[in-house]
Amino acid sequence: MAQIRIQNVRKEFGAFTAVRSSTFTIEDGEFFMLLGPSGCGKTTTLRMMAGLELPTSGEIFIDGEEVGMKPASKRDIAFVFQMFALYPHMNVRKNISYPLVSQGMKREEVKTRVQEVARILKIENILDRPVGGLSGGDRQRVALGRAIVRQPKAFFMDEPLGALDAEFREHMAEELRALHDRMGATTVYVTHDQLEAMQMGDKIVVMNHGVVEQFGKPQQIYDWPATKFVAQFIGSPSMNFLDFEGMIGIGGKSVDLGEAKIEVPAAREGRAGKLTLGVRPEHVRFATESAYRGRVTAVEYLGTTQIVTLRSSHGDLKARIPSDRPVREGELVGLAFDARTLSLFDAETGKALRSDANDGVLGHG
């Protein structure tokens, strides 16, 4: 079990920079998510931690020891691949025992360890089967078994649920989380699925274009995105952006969107010019008295809630409201936003402006 620290790690493939100077720390025993769209550098970062790629510069510490240039076999970590990478010419038992055999462990001990792991994963009945004919879920379990059997310092998983069908993924996610809680080992998990990241992770790093956009607990990231990218990437439907020209001073508690004065958390940094107001769909209310108005263009019924798409003078936005409120297309409604939940972004840089509410959680690592 170990703490993992990434310091100014950078990776270039020829002229292409996959990871630009990332820095963050994964605490011992954490279930840590590396989240981002494809090509954002999350897998490259994970592979550098595992020793499958060497960083161009920077340092990687596992358990206090600098391992940046050490080969994978010397790092005492386990890796679960997206396609599982079970050795096709070996049966389940051999696959699971393979990492132990490399350590020169005694046969008897290997046998007990494999048996123990098979019991935990409930795969005792398939131990002597070839891996070729196994179902996706069983392959997944064997891959996990191969990872946990050697009790490594850390687990690295590269989209391990990506190859499973949707129905089974949910179930496997729960199983994975339960397994983590039981073993308490540091786990780094790469995914592009923001729901998966929020559902399973203790902490999340959101990456984009090789840059760490934000680092924090799932709820902090959801509530107080550090950049417009994070705001849009996390949450479904994603955060609404209302672009406007305006200004806010330090300590300012409202902004003017045209005629309407909108209350926001007290600002800790001032800005004038092109700004963006960010509001989550569930924080939009229908309020007849409000000066800010929008016209309904579409309604999606989702059971207990409905998603209403509205056109306002500052762009389209979506509202998640209870479905007992009847809504007609073409209707003009007043809109109110929950003041404590709003974010302001600098429209040019995309960065969130610091306020009383989000101060301290906009970490970039």
Binding site: F79, P88, R146
Partner: protein, 313 residues
């Protein structure tokens, strides 16, 4: 049948395909059958006109290919005494005695050493090179691969004279090592290209998993990649062996007394009175056996290997 399917061939199509396959098989197999048949004929049956399809089989050809014989006069035969073994008796009918072994066994052994030796070398070097080309960043990779293939863009025999001179000055003429080197050089490009294709198909994650499981790069290659590449290695080995085994032109040119292989030797088998066709045929038949055995042993892999690249696992 009223149902119509575009993927399932009709009965007539199947019948037609069957006839084609049988015809092709007949055309391919007929010369083989004729050679094997001839090897069991007597010399006079072998050159009979019209050709004899039915004849009394004899193993004389096989005895002749392994021996040299001398014709003796009646008195000399008296002096030699009664034939002791079945093959002595077989040649005595024609008034001959076996005077010693022929060089066939020796030539055949040369073929085995040179054929299998160059195949093993081709596979070892080819697998290593193919793995490197497939997995590592090799500078000028594409140019190198093209360059390797370009060695096959003209018939090897076109460079026979330079090779002949080179071998002479290096002392490689008429040596086993020289022939092994030569056949390896000719086959290696094919071997690298075929094997690279097979290794490219093996997901790199298998090796990465092994690296993380605590194995070195070489162990990962040896224990994980090689078993996966078995199909490719088997079919490449067959291609290499068949070429080296059947090669005639270089063997004629570069070997004589010491390292001569079977192909240039077989046509030189001469009987006591004129060309001994059954012995030639027997030599050719025996010559087929090692390649056939080798191919049958690796057949399981070969059938999968021939469709290389077509199917993803």
């Amino acid at each position: 049948m009223s149902s119509y399917s575009i993927t399932e061939p009709s009965r007539r199509q199947k019948w037609f395909a069957g006839v084609l396959v049988v015809l092709y098989a007949l055309i391919t197999i007929l010369p083989l059958v004729w050679i094997i048949g001839t090897s069991f004929k007597t010399p006079s049956d072998a050159i009979a006109y019209p050709p004899k399809t039915f004849f009394t089989p004899t193993v004389e050809g096989y005895v002749n290919v392994f021996t040299t014989r001398t014709r003796l006069t009646e008195e000399q035969l008296q002096a030699v005494g009664e034939p002791q073994t079945w093959y002595d008796r077989l040649v005595r009918k024609d008034g001959l005695v076996i005077s010693g072994p022929s060089r066939f066994a020796e030539r055949f052994t040369n073929s085995v050493i040179i054929g299998f030796g160059s195949t093993v070398l081709c596979i070892v070097l080819g697998t290593a090179a193919a793995y490197a080309f497939s997995r590592f960043k090799v500078p000028l990779k594409d140019d190198l691969l093209f360059f390797i293939l370009s060695t096959r863009m003209m018939p090897p025999i076109a460079v026979a004279i330079p090779i002949f001179l080179m071998f002479r000055s290096l002392g490689l003429s008429d040596t086993h090592a020289g022939m092994i080197l030569l056949y390896t050089a000719v086959n290696l490009s094919l071997s690298v290209w075929l094997l690279k294709g097979f290794i490219d198909e093996i997901p790199v994650e298998y090796e990465e998993a092994a690296l993380i499981d605590g194995y070195t790069r070489f162990q990962a290659f040896y224990k994980v990649v090689l078993p996966q590449a078995a199909t490719g290695i088997a079919s490449t080995a067959i291609f290499c062996l068949i070429f080296a085994w059947n090669e005639y032109a270089f063997a004629v040119l570069l070997t004589s007394g010491n390292a001569q292989t079977a192909p240039p030797f077989i046509p030189t088998i001469i009987g006591v009175s004129g060309q001994d066709w059954p012995a030639v045929a027997a030599g050719a038949t025996l010559f087929l056996v090692p390649v056939m055995v080798f191919t049958i042993l690796l057949r399981k892999h070969l059938l999968r290997g021939i469709t290389f690249g077509a199917v993803r696992k």
